[in-house]
């Protein structure tokens, strides 16, 4: 979770454009989302290969 000022800075840096009247409303949800996304970075070991369904699933069919 991020404080509002940090989040506003991060949104501006990413080029997020929201109607002014919705910024405060969206901020809470965006903060939770960004916090959850950042948590993924710590969870995903670089040794794990990104998932490719079209390769893994046929390989495992009938297994």
């Amino acid at each position: 979770m991020h404080d509002d000022a940090t989040l506003r800075t991060r949104m501006a840096a990413a080029g997020v454009e929201l109607p002014a009247e919705l910024v405060d409303l969206v901020l809470g949800a965006a903060g939770a989302m960004v916090g959850a996304l950042d948590d993924l970075l710590a969870l995903a070991s670089p040794e794990l290969e990104p998932f490719v369904a079209a390769r893994r699933l046929p390989d495992d069919a009938g297994a």
Binding site: R10, M11, A14, G15, V16, E17, L18, P19, L22, V26, A29, A30, A32, M33, V34, A36, L37, D38, D39, L40, L41, L43, A44, S45, P46, L48, E49, P50, F51, A53, A54, R56, L57, P58, D60, A61, G62, A63
Partner: protein, 465 residues
């Protein structure tokens, strides 16, 4: 027509008890009389459907009837249908020219003799699980007029539940076939990633998108999958694997079938009425001969962020052409999602794709011990349209994340997943059961689901007229 399944209609047609023209006329009459209240359809292709019905009757008379000959099917307005404008549920697309070709899934249904009756509403761009669409219209949930139908294949779910058609096509990126099936009390099948081709379907998130049927019964889902499945060069992600006879698999029973329940994840956040119906479904499955045990899939707890990162990043890319030409005509919720998607970095996206591998490996390990997984299809019954947050147990969570909690994992893993009715809440809203199989083992989940429907009558219940 209202209470007849695809299988029943097919039998009546084969015996000459009715004709395709009569079936289509009855279907069009039902839509004309009742879709004003249901609001499932965007476009009804009545003239083309009647022409196709006459051709189907002629083909049957000549001994050339396909397996779905004369069966009306509705199609989510995300699939291309020759001669029909594809709105994608968005005001930004309503002035687009009609499609010049069918999506391959539509073409396969036609080749099997099915008759395309029209297109159905959806959550705008398929980007949301409620089905609420202020611009083009939100279908009613036939079980509760103050409840959402579920999305994004909202019109397909509502049309089948209301008895306007016996079958419809949907797409599923985070649960968009299974969620409306669960909320509307019908059956929905998301096949394995690569089993049903997606050529001619507007993408939302390429690595998660699936297409499949919504029907009243598992038997009907098997009939439609038989027509839809198979490799197609137009979609290189389709697998070059043989397509089994799905209806033949329905003869199996549940004796000795091992069913695993990821109980810790299922019980952590669930509406009490859903939990009760799910436990009762497990009792039924045991009574039919299945062996039910618990399994652990620890990475399920990361489903929400994984799904969010991938859908948002891929959807922003998929919607780029639309953003360039019609941004101002997109609904506000979709515009907000697509703006917030800018916060998803390459590192986030790749972390989510890496964690997908872990989730898949854990799920695969669970399948070493069981044949099928079972969960509720959704952790809650259909919410009201104005509900943005929901409290389940001691936890308050966003409605969107709650709705996708149990469906999303099987978009991430690509495994086949079937939603089917398994009861009702105290307030009379449907509850869905989800059965999940190994890669390309749709026959296993269809067989288990059909055995469950042989033992229960939830799929025969109908909403108030």
């Amino acid at each position: 027509m209202r209470d007849r399944s695809v299988a029943e209609l097919s039998t009546a047609l084969a015996r000459g008890e009715t004709s395709a023209v009569t079936v289509v006329e009855e279907c069009l009459a039902a839509i004309r009389d009742r879709d004003g209240a249901v609001h499932a359809f965007v476009t009804v292709t009545g003239d083309a459907a009647l022409e196709a019905a006459r051709a189907a009757d002629a083909a049957r008379a000549a001994g050339r009837a396909g397996p779905l000959a004369g069966i009306p099917v509705a199609v989510k307005d995300l699939f291309a249908i020759r001669g029909v404008v594809r709105t994608n549920g968005s005001a930004a697309c309503v002035d687009d020219p009609p499609a010049t070709d069918d999506a391959t899934a539509v073409a396969r249904l036609r080749a099997a003799g099915a008759i395309i009756i029209g297109t159905t509403h959806l959550h705008e761009l398929a980007f949301g699980p409620t089905g609420v669409n202020p611009a083009l219209g939100t279908p009613a949930n036939p079980w509760g007029v103050d409840r959402v139908p579920g999305g994004s294949s909202s019109g397909s779910g509502a049309a089948v539940a209301a008895g306007l058609v016996a079958a419809a096509l949907g797409t599923d990126t985070g649960g968009s076939i299974r969620i409306p099936a669960s909320f509307c009390g019908v059956t929905g099948l998301k096949p394995t990633y690569g089993r049903v081709n997606r050529a001619g379907i507007t993408p939302l998130a390429w690595s998660l998108d699936h297409a499949g049927p919504l029907t009243r019964t598992v038997h009907d889902a098997a009939l439609l999958l038989g027509a839809l499945a198979g490799h197609d060069p137009a979609d290189p992600t389709t697998a070059r694997l043989p397509v089994p006879d799905y209806t033949a698999a329905l003869a199996r029973d549940l004796r000795g079938v091992r069913i695993g329940v990821p109980r810790a994840f299922c019980e952590a956040l669930v509406h009490p009425d859903v939990a009760r119906a799910f436990e009762a479904a497990l009792v039924e499955l045991r009574a039919a001969g299945a062996e039910v045990s618990d399994v652990a899939i620890p990475s399920l707890v990361h489903t929400g962020p994984m799904l969010g990162a991938i859908i948002m990043a891929e959807a922003r890319s998929a919607a780029a052409p639309l953003l360039a030409r019609g941004r101002d005509r997109l609904g506000i919720d979709v515009r907000i999602y697509l703006e917030l998607a800018k916060l998803v970095t390459t590192d986030h996206y790749l972390a989510a794709q890496r964690l997908r591998t872990r989730l898949y490996d854990e799920t695969r390990a669970a399948f070493a011990r069981v044949d099928v997984l079972a969960t509720p299809a959704t952790v809650l019954p259909a919410p009201r349209a104005d509900e943005l947050m929901v409290t389940l147990g001691d936890t308050e969570t966003g409605v969107v994340e709650a709705i996708c909690r149990l469906t999303g994992p099987f978009n991430l893993t690509g495994l086949p997943a079937l939603a089917l009715p398994c009861g009702f809440t105290a307030g009379g809203l449907p509850v869905g059961l989800q059965l999940v199989g190994r890669p390309f083992a749709e026959a296993d989940v269809l067989a288990a689901g059909h055995a469950y429907q042989r033992a229960t009558d939830w799929h025969h219940r109908r909403p108030p007229a």
